[in-house]
Structures are given as C-alpha cells and as structure tokens.
Symmetry: C2
Subunit: 349 residues, 2 copies
C-alpha cells in the first residue's frame, strides 16, 4: 500500500509574530483560503495515500496539530532529533503493519500551487519505487538563482521523467546558484521523496544503525520499552538528507515544475498569495497602502494597518506584536525573536 | 486682573492614529510625564493668571476637555469659526466681569521645554500691554529654516526686550526660511500673545465688526439671544492673525528662546520627548529596535513593536490602528486620514 508521512515538527520562528512556539508555520493559514499549511499538506498526501496519513510532530505541538487535522494518525516525538529519526520512527511503525509499504514523505509547511502536478509527480516517484526500489525525490526546476535551498544534480542524458541523482549540494553561493540555474541539470531539493519502508529501514541500518535500532525497538516493544524517551533522546540529531540520501546511490529525481515554495520568510508571501496591481500583498484584514508598492502587510485581528509613501516593507501585526522589516531582509526576523528571548519577553515567542 | 485663555478646539488629524476626532492632540499625553498637552498648557497659564483659566473648545469636545482639566472655566463654541471668533467670545465674556482685564491667549497643544522662561516672557508681554495697550506676542527665535510656521519680522535696533513687529509672514519657502534664520530679525509666531480685553474687542470692532457684535450680544444677552448658535455660525471663519494682527500697527513681540514646539506631526516627537543613544524615540510601551536609528515608535496598549534594519521610520500603534510613514513625510498622515474617511472607516477617525 501507498502511505504518506508528513513532517510537522517545525518550530517556525521565521514567520514571527504570526508563528510562535505553540503555533508554528505549518499551523498558520497564510493563503486566502484560510486553511493551514498542514491541512493543505494533508489534502495533498491523501491524493496519493491508500491508508490514513501519518503526521509526525513534537509532543508540545501534538494537541494543536491533532486539532488542526483531526483525521490523521499522529506520532508525537519524545524529543526533536531532526528528520532521520522522525522519518525512521514513522517508517518503522508503518512497516510493522504493512511489510510492503511504500511511503511518500512530505514536509508540512510548504506551498504548492499546482496540486495535481504534484500528485502526478508523486505517482511517478511511487511507481519508480515500486518497480526498482529506488529513493525517488520530487525535484523542483529552479526559477531563480536561489541561495537558500539545497540542490540535486541530475545525471545528463534522456530519461522517462525519472533521472538519476549524482549528488546533493547544500545552499550554494550566488555565482554557483546562477550556474545551476543556467545548466538545467540542477533541481531544488524540496524535501519530498518516496521509498519503501523496508528500504528506508535498511538504509538506516547501513548509515544510521543507532537510529534504526531505536525506532524498531520503540515500535516493536510499544509500551514495554523501559525508557523510550531516553532511547530517542540519545539518537544523533541528523537530517535524512545528510544521514542517508547523500550516502546512498539509489537516489533518483522526478523534475516537477509545480509552483513550489517553502514559505521560508515573509518575503515569500507574494508568490504564495499573489499581490494587487501595485505589487502589494495584503493578508488577513484591512489595510490602506498609499503611494507605495511591493509591501507585504499582514494583520490578524482587525487592526487597521496604514502606510503612506513606503515601498518594499514588511509590516506584520499578530497576537499582540508588530514586526517591521525590509522585504529584502525578511530573514532577520530571527534576530528579533532572539532579542525578545534575551529581554524576557517569553510570552511573545 | 490678568486672565488666560487657552484655545483647545483643534481637531488634530496630524497625530493620527493617537489623535482622533474625539481625542485631538491637546488631550494626548505625548511626553513621558503622562500629562495631556492641555493640562500642561493650563499649568503654564495658571503661572500668569489671577483668575480661573478659560478654555475654549468645541461642543463635541466639551465633556472630554472638562474631564481632562476639571478646574477651568470652559467655553464650548456653538460652531468652529477659527480663532478670531473663539478669542472674541472669550474676551467678551471676561470683559463683562472685569472691564480692565488683560488677557494672555495660549494654544492648548504645544510643547514648551522652558516653562519658567515662558512665564517670564509672558510677564514681559503683560507688563507692556498694561503700560502701553499694545498687542504683545511671544516670538520664538528660529532654530532651523522651518517652512511650516508663520514668522514675525521685527523692527531693527535696540530694545528693552519688546520689539515692534513690522509684518507677519505666512509659511515661507525654503530659501526664504534660510534668509530669515540668518538675518536674526525674524521670530516664529507661536500663537501666544497678550492684550487687554477692551483692546481686543476694539480691534474686532474695527476689523471684524460682525464678530465683535455677535460675541458681545451672545455674552450680554446670555440665554436670551433668540439664536446664539445661528449668530455664531454666521460669523466668518477667520484667524485672529489674519483678521486682526496683520491689520493693526499695535503689535510688538518679546523674543523668547523657550524650547517651543508645536508638535505639528509625529516627526516633532524626538524634540519633545528626547531619544535614546541610537536616536530612536520610543513612547508608550515596549519596543525593540535593532540596527536602526532615528525611528519614532509609539505604542499605546502593550502591543510590542519590533523593527530590524530600519531607520527614519515612524510606526505608531494606537486604538486599533497602525500608521507607518517615513519620518520626513510625517505630515502625509493627513492623506491616510482622508483615505480612511473615503473608504468608510469612520470608526477610526
């Protein structure tokens, strides 16, 4: 059977003040349709899954996550140990009840404009997995020389939509990113991939044996493990990309130009939500923007935001806090969050 | 006896969203001492008045004004007819009970750093009025080439602190303002002046006879005038400067470098309230300004305002609305207020 695992453990400071510790990015409704990113991810997953969708999150977010997507199977990690452990835990659980399980792993906090395109690409991946036991990634053909993403280098030559992946590249510098874009041989790594549960555990056995052992034991001895929390906490915090993908030669990619966006900062909002004729993106409530363009304005609670003579600014009002930052420096919200913590404003984190 | 009349009828859109129709600038506490500008003006007036301070405001603002300064004599104008009518009404009332009254007229919405200096200047004005029946203005020696104020040109030559005024100049252009500043012969017109009540009515008789007649009739026939509202509404809306001061040759000025500020826009706040070591002025609550200077940040209700990498910006959160404008364009708040009205957000005006 085909299964879907959604990774929903993100802590989400990048969209502060809308995102908070207790309400990270995946639980926000950033688009005009008022559905959380997670709920949308679950819808996407249902399109390819034969069984109930599995969502992995943290214990702290379990209640809020279950409330946001009631009809999923929830796994609450005893501790955050990055994606290798989270994916391993979900795969071990699925493998226990379906030895021939094929799994699609999907992040919870992304935006995909072309849902049917993604379903189609995932189906291509899953079919390849079922035929040849590969690890099949959905790769996004780059639309700009982005330095904030990881890339996949594809093997040259013709293909039937499935391309061998030669290597993974972490965030490149600007020049390298331009070369990647021009070459046509690189894809953005969206963190979306398919493989059999058995292959997943086998790769963990090879590359992260402690993780493989722990997740098997936690699932098999469910409730009987003396200290599952301690077992999990002792695992190395390593991503599945670094710990497994980059070390195996079974990786292929399916290029899919599906309008993918990782919603990595407020600056991503115009691409996700569109903008008006002046280039302003206004979300969540009333705002008046006079004589200004390319602003991003978010208001959560009826507070009117007014601007005059300003361009390229991000102004967000959410939950008793306001953020003002230049659009091209939107990632600096992290500094604000750090400063709030350092100055004792824990209630705003 | 010496009397003080405070003009407190301002509608105050220039400090929106803190100022509203029902809570104009003079009722705001803009300084760190939490006292409204009006209450501070009343304190200043008490320092020179022998009788209860008279405050002229609109009917709409009467209750809020009385609440802000309970121990004054309030005149609620039946209609807004600019300062000539307001001052005339107050003078006629005072003259009725004190035929030898000397009056100091003071706006309600200004900031004066050196209170004792102002008291001293007003005393010089009042003494000149009592001796020679002049109209004596407190004039502010300019500290910058300001184009937003009216100026007084003083006669050249030595003086005992009281200088003849040759003419009034409305807001000059930038070049002219620089010449005024360099010449040393021009003063800012702060709208603060002294004269006898009898002289005031006599000047109105000469230059604005309809106003003189109406205010006399309203005061004399108090309660018996058939239609005092209609009488007042029919008056020309003209300022005392334009209607009287510019037409009489009895005007003198007392230069007084008292740290005067008309708080004409949010950009005036640093001068009124000071700023921190980074040049940021933060008023009313918590704010975090990282890597930015010369910002003006006002928050009225515990909403945290955070900024990173921004300079020279005004951000104000007050009463369910946020304003964002560049510091050097702070007067454009008027456009925002107009747009709110045009788009049906009357509740925010």
């Amino acid at each position: 059977m085909r299964h879907a695992v959604i990774l929903a453990g993100g802590s989400g400071t990048r969209l502060w003040p809308a995102s908070r510790r207790g309400r990270p990015k995946q639980l926000l409704a950033l688009t005009h349709d008022k559905e959380s990113l997670l709920a949308t991810a679950v819808s996407r997953a249902r399109a390819i899954a034969d069984d109930r969708v599995v969502v992995v999150t943290s214990e702290a977010l379990a209640a809020a996550t279950q409330a946001a997507v009631p009809d999923v199977e929830l796994i609450a990690e005893p501790a955050a140990r990055n994606t290798a452990a989270a994916i391993g835990l979900a795969a071990a659980m699925i493998l226990e009840r379906d030895p021939s399980a094929v799994i699609a792993v999907l992040p919870a906090d992304q935006h995909v404009r072309d849902r049917e395109g993604l379903t189609c690409a995932l189906d291509t991946c899953l079919t390849a997995v079922e035929r040849t036991d590969v690890i099949a990634l959905v790769g996004i053909p780059p639309t700009r020389a982005e330095t904030g993403f990881g890339y996949l280098e594809m093997a040259a030559g013709p293909s039937d939509g499935v391309r061998a992946v030669l290597r993974f590249v972490e965030k490149p510098d600007q020049t390298t990113a331009y070369c990647y874009l021009a070459s046509g041989r690189y894809l953005w790594n969206a963190g979306i991939f398919c493989l059999t549960a058995r292959r997943l555990l086998a790769e963990l056995d090879t590359h992260l044996p402690q993780t493989a052992g722990a997740v098997r034991q936690i699932v098999r001895d469910n409730g009987l493990v003396l200290d599952p929390r301690g077992l999990y906490e002792a695992l190395p915090a390593v991503s599945f990309d670094t710990g497994v993908m980059e070390k195996t030669d079974r990786v292929v990619a399916v290029p899919a130009a599906v309008g993918w966006n990782d919603v990595g900062s407020w600056a991503a909002l115009p691409e996700v939500c569109g903008h008006d004729d002046d280039g302003n993106t206004i979300l969540g409530g009333d705002a008046i923007v006079l004589d200004g363009s390319r602003n991003i304005v978010v208001t959560d609670d009826g507070t009117m935001i007014t601007m005059v003579g300003i361009s390229d600014l991000v102004v967000v009002k959410a939950g008793g806090a306001i953020l003002v930052v230049r659009r091209d420096q939107a990632q600096r919200v992290r500094e604000v969050v750090d400063a709030l913590g350092a100055r004792g404003f824990a209630r705003l984190l």
